[in-house]
Every structure is written in structure tokens, then in C-alpha cells.
Subunit: 200 residues, 2 copies
């Protein structure tokens, strides 16, 4: 069976929590923000900057043109992040027994045959409530409409990032083995469904 479970997720759907609880239940390693630490060591870049750009399409610096034909690019910090992330996820996949959240890990580890999960919520209210629960001050600071706009914006960025690096559709069933609506089955329900699916 798969020794790697990758979890892609809509923002606010609880995918991160599903992954954390799943890794705890399986006694496997868990990588989400943990990757940022490793990327920082690898690149020497600031952790806040890495967090911001770890799931964004890398921007390129302007090309340098030498003479008429030779064009070179200086690696931009966001390109450095993507390359470091790629290297680290490949190393993790070699070791196996791990749950990796986002960052195109399903695609990067494809040769190790990961079990690929997509976590989403068919209810926008469920996602808005989860966001408020995580940052209670936002109940005062942001209207539901503003929160919804933010959620949609983050998903749009994740989709763009995924589709840019993989050429595949984000959240399109054919790219996953199991897609779970947490607003219907709950966070713990999703964890147990995945355990059942991977025979653990």
C-alpha cells in the first residue's frame, strides 16, 4: 500500500487538521508548515517570506541578455523556494510513511505512487465558520462577505499554483484517489475514511 499520503485542500475546509490527525493516528511524519523550516535552512531565506510564497507561482527576475543570443535568468527568491521545496519533498518521499499537505506533493511524488486525497467543503458557511474559529478576532474585523472573498482568493491562488506546476486540474477528481467533503462527514470522519481507504 501507499507509504505516502498527499492532501490537497480548499482553504477553510480543514485539510490541514485532517492531515495532522491522520499522521498522528498512523504514527507517520507530517509535513505542512514543517516544510518551511527546512526550506529556510536550504535557501537561507526568511520564514515569513517562504510561507507567503511556498504555494505561489514563482516570479522570474528580468533576463540578462549577453550579446545577441545568450539569455540568462538570475534565480528569483520565489524560484529558489520552489526548487528547495521540490528537493525536500522528493527526499521525504524516499523515506515514506508521511502525510504531506499541498505544494503539488501529489505530482512531485507521483513515481512513488502516493495515495492522493482532496479535502473540500460543499458548504461555504462551514469554511467561513472554520476561519472565524481559527482567528476569533476576525469575527469583529471581517464580514462574512469579506471572509468569503478571501477564501475564494486563496483557492484561486492555490489552483493557479497547482495548475502551473503540474498541468493538471486542481480539485478535478481524476487527479485524486479520494475527495472528501468535510462539511458532510466532519474532520474526524474524514480522518477515519482515509484510514479505511489505505487499510490502516
Amino acid at each position: 500500500m501507499s507509504k505516502i499520503i498527499t492532501i490537497s485542500r480548499q482553504f477553510g475546509s480543514g485539510g490541514r487538521e485532517v492531515g495532522k490527525r491522520l499522521a498522528d493516528a498512523l504514527l507517520w511524519s507530517y509535513f505542512d508548515r514543517e516544510l518551511i523550516e527546512q526550506v529556510a535552512t536550504e535557501t537561507g531565506l526568511d520564514k515569513g517570506y517562504i510561507e507567503k510564497y511556498s504555494e505561489s507561482v514563482a516570479t522570474r527576475n528580468h533576463p540578462y541578455v549577453f550579446g545577441r543570443t545568450f539569455i540568462a535568468y538570475q534565480q528569483s527568491p520565489s524560484e529558489k523556494i520552489q526548487l528547495a521545496q521540490l528537493k525536500i519533498i522528493r527526499e521525504l518521499a524516499e523515506k515514506g510513511d508521511c502525510v504531506i499537505i499541498g505544494r503539488c506533493a501529489d505530482y512531485i511524488t507521483r513515481e512513488q505512487n502516493p495515495f492522493k486525497v482532496f479535502i473540500y467543503s460543499s458548504s461555504m458557511d462551514f469554511r467561513i465558520d472554520r476561519c472565524y474559529d481559527k482567528v476569533p478576532a476576525d469575527r469583529e474585523n471581517k464580514t462574512e462577505k469579506e471572509m468569503q472573498k478571501e477564501i475564494i482568493g486563496i483557492d484561486k491562488r492555490r489552483r493557479k499554483y497547482y495548475e502551473y506546476y503540474t498541468g493538471l486540474g486542481w480539485g478535478a477528481i481524476e487527479n485524486y484517489n479520494l475527495c472528501i467533503d468535510t462539511s458532510a462527514v466532519g474532520i474526524q470522519g474524514a480522518v477515519e475514511i482515509i484510514q479505511k481507504a489505505v487499510g490502516k
Copy 2:
């Protein structure tokens, strides 16, 4: 919890078998081809004809024009099938404790809050093999390429049918609570995953 489980499915993914085994395990009623019998009683139409058109977009007869403004349609046989099917599925949903396959049942029963499953296979080989296993003579009669073309054609018709009557995307995650890749978890695996999801 939901007393209705609807199963939409890609052709050859084993959705029908998942539904049948699930209904047996839950001791619930199961409706797939069983609906054809009921539609035949309701409409007086031939069962073979109903089977052919039960998941197709209804074609309309040509309109009759009376005077300049009044236009009437004579109900075509395929429209009759759709209307009878709609009525029967609504009656089943009232009774509950049932698994219904295809036929936009997820949409038709939406006010009864069904648990909506989509069964698919990320592997085309898995689907082709299942089709050959069901009709062994086809191993001689149809090449894999022909079989694949047939599978894609049937799915195309199902998509058109679903999208025409619901206005929603067929196989788009947001319209389901659980989407399962049978080529990754197997038929029995899918049954057990759904049981876990609905708490049975």
C-alpha cells in the same frame, strides 16, 4: 443521518456494484434497473426503449402551433420517461432507506438531503478490464481502443444528461459529498468507505 444515498458513476468504474453491495450491507432498497420496471408500468412503454433513454436528454416532438401565439408540445416518449422517473424517484425518497444509481437522483432528492457519492476510476485500464469481464465475448469483438471510445461516449452522454437537467457539473466535487476512485481502493473498499462515511 442521510436516509438516501445517491451514486453517480463513470461507466465501467463499478458504481452499480458498489451501490448493490452497499444496499445489501445496509439492508436498504436498491434502485438502478429496478426503476425501469416501474417506469414501464407508469408509462406503458417498452423496457428496452426505457433502458436506452433513461439517462438521455429527452427529445421533444415538433411543436404544434395554434393560430399565431399558442404553441403546444406533444409529449415525446423520452419526455414521458423523464417525467415518470422523476415521480418515482421522489416517491422513493419519501420512503427513504434507499440507494439510487444515476438518473440525477442526487438533484431530484436534494430536499431530503441525500448523501451524494461519485464513483470513478483514475485508471482507464481498470474500466476497460471491468467491461471485458462483464461481457467476456467483447474481448474477441472489441479492441481496447474501441472499448475506450465506447466508455468515453457513454460518459459523455451521462454528463450531457446530468448537466441538462441539473445545471450542475457532472463529476465536479462540489456537487458530491464523497468521490471515490475504485481503481485505487477496489469495489469492496468503496463500499466500506461509504459505510464509514454515513456512520453505518
